[in-house]
Symmetry: C2
């Protein structure tokens, strides 16, 4: 563990998380890993089910060194994870298409995180409610304060799990293409086409009561 600007930074490199291909693109510090996780809210979780691998997309929220997941109590993903089976999850943001002069050196700019571990059921009611807020805040901050909060029946129908982030890695590619030396003389354009993710203009529910102004959380989200 090191401390930079009062932030504790853990290093999560293990045999499992060591980046095999293009090791220079690998990062193992929690600062880099958390930043990528915080920039997204959907991950793909892999687990072994009846001997074969299953990959399922799901929403998450991060708080400190934990990822939280929620869903219907009967969800196969959550019921399987609850058993404490090994899971692996990946979050990938594509940032740009990298056009090299040679087909071979075409690439992608991206930020990606992989986490290995075991999830566990959250049973404490306070932690459960806090976790649901964490997930909500991950997607759209302050919406939790605007919405009608879950009642007993809804809480009963909801399962919450957490995964402590102890084994993880980030893999990042940025910058221009890298071509073979001789190819720089070719009359071929090379560069990067950025991929941008933006929020569009909010669409009101057709059944919205008249006179209700658009939510502040939505205004803030599309401005940021």
């Amino acid at each position: 563990m090191t401390v930079i600007n009062n932030q504790k930074i853990e290093h999560l490199k293990t045999d499992k998380t060591k980046v095999k291909r293009a090791p220079k693109r690998g990062h193992y510090d929690t600062r880099t890993i958390y930043k990528i996780l915080d920039n997204d809210f959907i991950c793909q979780i892999g687990f072994v089910y009846n001997g074969y691998p299953v990959v399922i997309p799901t929403i998450y929220g991060r708080k400190n060194d934990c990822l939280y997941f929620h869903g219907a109590s009967v969800s196969r993903l959550l019921v399987t994870m609850e058993e404490g089976v090994p899971i692996s999850l990946n979050v990938t943001q594509t940032d740009g298409i990298v056009l090299a002069r040679s087909a071979f050196h075409h690439s992608l700019n991206y930020h990606s995180v992989t986490v290995f571990g075991h999830a566990e059921l959250v049973t404490d009611e306070k932690e459960r409610l806090d976790a649901l807020k964490v997930v909500s805040d991950q997607i759209i901050p302050t919406r939790w304060e605007e919405a009608r909060l879950p009642n007993k029946k809804e809480l009963k129908a909801t399962k919450v799990l957490k995964l402590k982030i102890t084994e993880a890695s980030a893999k990042i590619r940025t910058g221009p293409p890298k071509d073979e030396k001789d190819d720089y003389d070719l009359e071929i354009w090379a560069g990067v086409i950025p991929i941008e993710k933006k929020y569009g203009k909010p669409i009101a529910d057709p059944d919205l009561k008249s006179g209700i102004p658009i939510a502040n959380s939505a205004i803030k989200l599309i401005k940021d």
Copy 2:
């Protein structure tokens, strides 16, 4: 198999691909599945390695009922897949954040595809080269015609695999939130915030020879 508008449509529902949660969101026809696959180029592949699940993002291209993958010959993902182990892959596009009046009914609009199967190594040189073009076209059409094509050494360093799409499902959510009947009277804004993915202005390689105009493939991509 059914035929609509001269298009053969297969149904890929099996015990494995049957959508368990929210079964109404499940689709099993190749028309729906291929459309989602064609709208993207990055997937998350899951496989079992030393007994634990691994999820790795990778680029793909689709041609007919096959998905093609490529990478360095020494890539762990490709070397493992080449052995014919069971794999699962997922492609997910997030289309919008669904804000309901109740926290419980918040949701996500998305298009998602899951495929199960076994990949196999492509060894025929013509099919290998064709597959590399398929993957290139999936990311940026016509770029293959502009770039310096792979030489013998580069082809030797590249592995190509294919996965026949025989077991798959799509899961889709669209439209406004659905709240509990009583909640429609609440003074809470509800609706959808669209998530839009766009290409930004291409950034030329700092080492680009002067006088080379931006590639047609890039112009077309950002216009579409």
